[in-house]
């Protein structure tokens, strides 16, 4: 299945030049998607602790399962206002 990746701020810059989506096996979880992204960009690893993930616009748990066509957003600590 194919999952679209939306990364923001420093994470967007870190993933610049990499594909905008991920090909994952059926039944893959949010954690599996993050692991695949870490293999693509190892510099992501230390940022796992401060990154929140959203599936289709809602905050997701690592155990949440993904579906074909989902959007997974990578959200670093926010800085609005």
């Amino acid at each position: 299945m194919r999952v679209a990746i939306a990364a923001f701020a420093g994470l967007r810059e870190l993933l610049a030049g990499t594909a905008a989506d991920l090909e994952l096996p059926a039944g893959a979880s949010v954690a599996d998607a993050w692991s695949a992204l870490e293999r693509r960009q190892p510099a992501l690893a230390p940022l796992a602790v401060s990154t929140r993930l959203a599936r289709n616009g809602r905050l997701a748990a690592t155990t949440d399962l993904l579906s074909d066509g989902d959007e997974l957003a990578l959200l670093p600590p926010v800085g609005g206002g």
Binding site: A9, W34, A48, S50, R52, G57, P77, G79, G80, G81
Partner: protein, 145 residues
């Protein structure tokens, strides 16, 4: 009214969005780009970006929370994204209410929550050409990974 905008915020126009003949108070908070970073470095401007759809949903959730906490309040929350210069308005929270106490409380609540929860990011652009993504002190919530 909730919006992420790419052009300058006109606070006078936002005032109308919270008016009601039953409301005797309008309180506005404007967040302005300032010349000094928290560590004292000279700032030329800020670059904001947002996850628009999720940020708008968060604004709406925060306004709903304010309504439940403070009673009859109407909120407008607008955040600008893109490159902003010193002195420009980055965010506006405007609250209408029958009385000023609830309007002040709801306004403070809403801006605090926007800063800690809304998926919006800023990069500080320093006068010396350096730049850095800067998170709010309250912008670190539990991680999902």
């Amino acid at each position: 009214m909730f919006a992420i905008v790419r052009t300058p915020i006109d606070p006078v126009r936002l005032d109308a969005s919270v008016r009601d003949d039953l409301f005797g108070a309008v309180v506005s908070f404007l967040g302005i780009v300032r010349e000094r970073a928290d560590d004292g470095r000279l700032v030329h401007g800020l670059e904001y970006e947002a996850y628009d759809t999720m940020a708008l949903a968060e604004f709406e959730t925060i306004a709903g929370e304010a309504y439940r906490r403070f009673g009859d309040v109407r909120l407008t929350i607008v955040h600008r994204v893109g490159r902003l210069n010193v002195g420009e308005i980055a965010v506006a929270v405007v609250v209408g209410s029958p009385h000023r106490g609830d309007a002040f409380d709801a306004c403070e609540y809403a801006i605090d929550e926007v800063k800690s929860r809304a998926p919006i990011w800023k990069k500080e652009l320093y006068a010396d050409g350096d730049e850095r993504w800067k998170s709010n002190a309250c912008g670190h919530r539990e991680s999902a990974v």
